[in-house]
């Protein structure tokens, strides 16, 4: 595939992520923060996020698995996850966390487990999408091209 095509594909792909609400403007901000002094900034931040969030998801699963569930603790974890996902622009994950917190308030274990499933799903989705995005970028750079600065045209 030639460079131009690759770049076109990347642009389309990125656009779809925004349109579907998987990513929001915060991700764009991150991309704009990236510069020559920090060419892998976005990748680094996203990696940090996934590292942290996976840990959080495990903590939440464990907390919900207890005989007597400590909802405050679960809520604290979810709140943290919400903040983290907001940092990278993982919009759907963030929204799933908001719904999750409502379940925590109701102190409903079943509801919480369902919410956790939802959050995990969204988390998995955004992770895959971003991996694809970075791969496309790498291919372009490897082919000698440059990744166009993202723009919010939609």
């Amino acid at each position: 595939m030639e460079l131009g095509q690759m770049q076109g594909r990347l642009a389309e792909f990125t656009k779809s992520l925004y349109m579907e609400g998987i990513l929001d403007a915060q991700f764009l901000q991150l991309q704009q923060l990236q510069d020559e002094s920090n060419p892998d900034f976005v990748v680094e931040v996203v990696s940090l996020f996934f590292e942290d969030s996976e840990k959080l998801l495990n903590d939440i699963a464990r907390a919900l698995d207890q005989q007597s569930v400590d909802f405050k603790r679960v809520d604290a974890h979810v709140h943290q996850l919400k903040g983290s996902s907001a940092s990278v622009g993982a919009q759907r994950v963030k929204n799933a966390c908001v719904a999750f917190r409502n379940c925590c308030e109701e102190q409903n274990v079943e509801g919480c487990l369902r919410c956790l499933q939802q959050v995990k799903q969204e988390h998995y989705l955004v992770k895959n999408k971003l991996e694809t995005l970075f791969r496309l970028e790498q291919q372009i750079v490897a082919a000698g091209g440059s990744v166009p600065m993202a723009e919010m045209t939609f």
Binding site: Q26, Q29, L30, L33, N38, F41, E44, V45, L48, F49, D52, A76, H79, Q80, K82, G83, S84, A86, S87, V88, G89
Partner: protein, 583 residues
């Protein structure tokens, strides 16, 4: 300290602004660091609040502004905010993904100068320098305002400066001027660097206060004077004014403790839950809102202290209620008690016990403990105070000329002060009398506005009468300051060192006025002393004139409004004034 920093900071403010970011989320920390660097700020990141506090304490002047997340595992962001405000007096910005009104309100109440919602935009970070700049301006204004109070013409520059602010001058004017010059010197050093100007306020740290107390004890409490103390303390950057105002507070504190103990003895436990008292948050909020505009620092402090006051424990609240109840019901009793105790001469022994306590307290780092202590004590003291001044007021009401709102404010201030400080006070005292007072102040203000207004005049008349007297003494510092300073500081210090610093700053302004309050003050002092220490009033022996004693409470009030040697902001006082009116 500013000298150690790269000169770029001085040249192109806000570039080079030294920001400390605290957030437990590593992702956010990385993003914020990048964003701030893009704004050309100097960024330091911290994943733990504990580490952040250590960093801040190590380099007291090492940062210009702190940005902190609200939810952190090791320490609540609001708590960190309070500590920073008290100890370092830096602007703090809170951040959170949660933008609920109640949270934002809590942030503001704790003294945050801004509350940002995550995700944070670059443009929001670009403007954070305004908070640093604003604080700077307010400090300068405070200095100037303070000086104008004293009528000092700061025309000659540097001619009288012997060395770095070390002034051994018998004249107040020169000292004050020197202090201003001292501050000017700092300002000149960092031309254009608003973020690095040295703060003009003296923070009475535990060490510093211990030195002070040691010096006082060495000299002998009844022979003590600011100059002697300053000489003994041998702290080069400390001015005679600083010592004088601190001495005032110390004396007030001691006398307040005495009075409180006396009052306690005389009053039963009447419980009148006062709405104002019971709902510190509410009353405080009222006050805070009133006081909020003028001075960010003042506001922050005020709110902070008030918040702290009320946040302490339920006991305090109840006590406050008691105070109120007692106040309304036992005024006559109070008066009697007060009068009886008033004339007792103080003994050095009482003083010594104070000092001892102070020394002990000084070494304690556990503010929390103090807080609890103080709070429990505070209400009692407060109660006593309230009654006394009121009693006086009523008596003198007919004779008094209309008083300015300031006085009114002062009264309120006084009330809170005694209660707050009297408790354990020992350690708290040096920390910050003023802070405590303020929250109480707010409280009282709200409650008392209706009450006190007629009294206001009464109070005012007192100060007027004694003012002349006070002025004289003020110069020499010994008689007046003894009475007044002992009264004042008491309330503040108790709560906690950090609080005290905060209060101290705030109260300092009030301390300076020293308006004589006449009998009320005297009585209070005596009572507190006796009650608290079981010894005759120490303070009174120092007073050359019994009227001094009485004047002390007034002084308290006056301090707020009139000139004081303390570096506290006049603006803070005006805030109170406004508060009064609004209330």
């Amino acid at each position: 300290m500013e000298n150690g920093f790269p000169s770029t900071r001085n040249d192109s403010f806000p570039a080079g602004l030294r920001v400390l970011v605290v957030d437990d989320d590593p992702t956010w920390l990385k993003i914020l660091e990048k964003m701030l660097k893009k704004c050309s700020y100097e960024v330091t990141t911290c994943g733990l609040a504990r580490d952040a506090l250590n960093l801040l304490r190590e380099r007291k002047d090492g940062y210009d502004i702190v940005i902190s997340d609200v939810n952190m595992p090791d320490m609540d962001g609001f708590k960190l905010l309070e500590h920073v405000g008290l100890e370092m007096d830096l602007p703090v910005i809170m951040m959170s993904v949660d933008g609920e009104t109640s949270r934002v309100m809590k942030g503001v109440q704790h003294g945050a100068c801004d509350y940002l919602l995550k995700p944070i935009r670059m443009k929001e970070l670009r403007n954070i320098w305004q908070h640093v700049f604003r604080k700077k301006i307010h400090e300068i204004r405070d200095i100037e305002g303070h000086e104008s109070f004293e009528g000092i013409q700061i025309s000659r520059n540097g001619s009288d400066l012997s060395d770095d602010g070390h002034m051994f001058c018998g004249e107040d004017m020169t000292s004050i001027k020197k202090r201003k010059d001292f501050d000017n010197k700092y300002d000149e050093k960092d031309l254009g660097d608003h973020s690095s100007s040295k703060k003009h306020r003296v923070v009475w740290s535990v060490d510093l206060h211990q030195k002070f107390v040691k010096a006082v004890n060495q000299i002998g409490f009844d022979k003590v004077g600011p100059k002697k103390i300053l000489d003994l303390m041998n702290v080069p950057w400390l001015t005679r004014e600083n010592v004088a105002s601190h001495l005032q507070k110390y004396r007030l504190y001691l006398s307040r403790l005495q009075k409180e103990s006396d009052l306690k003895a005389s009053f039963g436990g009447i419980k009148h839950p006062d709405m104002h008292l019971k709902d510190p948050a509410g009353s405080f909020g009222l006050q805070s809102s009133i006081n909020t505009n003028q001075n960010d620092v003042a506001n922050g402090r005020f709110q902070f202290s008030a918040h702290k006051l009320f946040g302490q424990d339920v006991n305090v609240k109840i006590q406050e209620g008691d105070l109120k109840g007692i106040f309304s019901e036992h005024m006559p009793d109070t008066k009697k008690t007060l009068n009886a105790d008033n004339p007792d001469p103080q003994e050095t022994s009482s003083h010594m016990s104070f000092d001892h306590s102070f020394a002990t307290l000084g070494s304690e780092v556990n503010y929390e403990a103090f807080d609890c202590h103080i709070w429990n004590e505070a209400p009692k003291i407060e109660l006593k105070r309230e009654h006394k001044p009121l009693l006086q007021l009523e008596d003198g009401f007919s004779q008094l000329p209309p008083c300015a709102p300031e006085h009114h404010v002062k009264t309120d201030k006084l009330h809170p002060v005694p209660s707050v400080t009297s408790g354990l006070s020992l350690t708290a005292r040096d920390v910050s009398g003023p802070i405590k007072n303020e929250p109480l102040y707010a409280e009282y203000q709200g409650n008392r506005v209706s009450h006190v207004s007629p009294k206001k005049c009464a109070i005012e008349s007192f100060p007027i009468q004694s003012k002349g007297h006070m002025v004289v003494n003020h110069q020499s510092y010994e008689p007046v300051s003894t009475a007044i300073s002992s009264m004042k500081p008491q309330g503040f210090n108790l709560s906690c060192l950090t609080d005290f610093d905060y209060c101290q700053r705030n109260l300092k302004a009030s301390d300076s006025t020293l308006a004589p309050f006449n009998e009320t003050a005297c009585l209070l002092q005596g009572d507190f002393h006796n009650k608290y220490f079981g010894l005759p009033n120490i303070e009174f022996t120092d007073c050359n004139d019994p009227s001094f004693i009485a004047e002390i409470p007034v002084h308290w009030y006056d301090t707020l409004t009139s000139d004081y040697e303390c570096p506290l902001d006049p603006t803070e006082y005006s805030i109170f004034d406004q508060g009064l009116f609004i209330a």
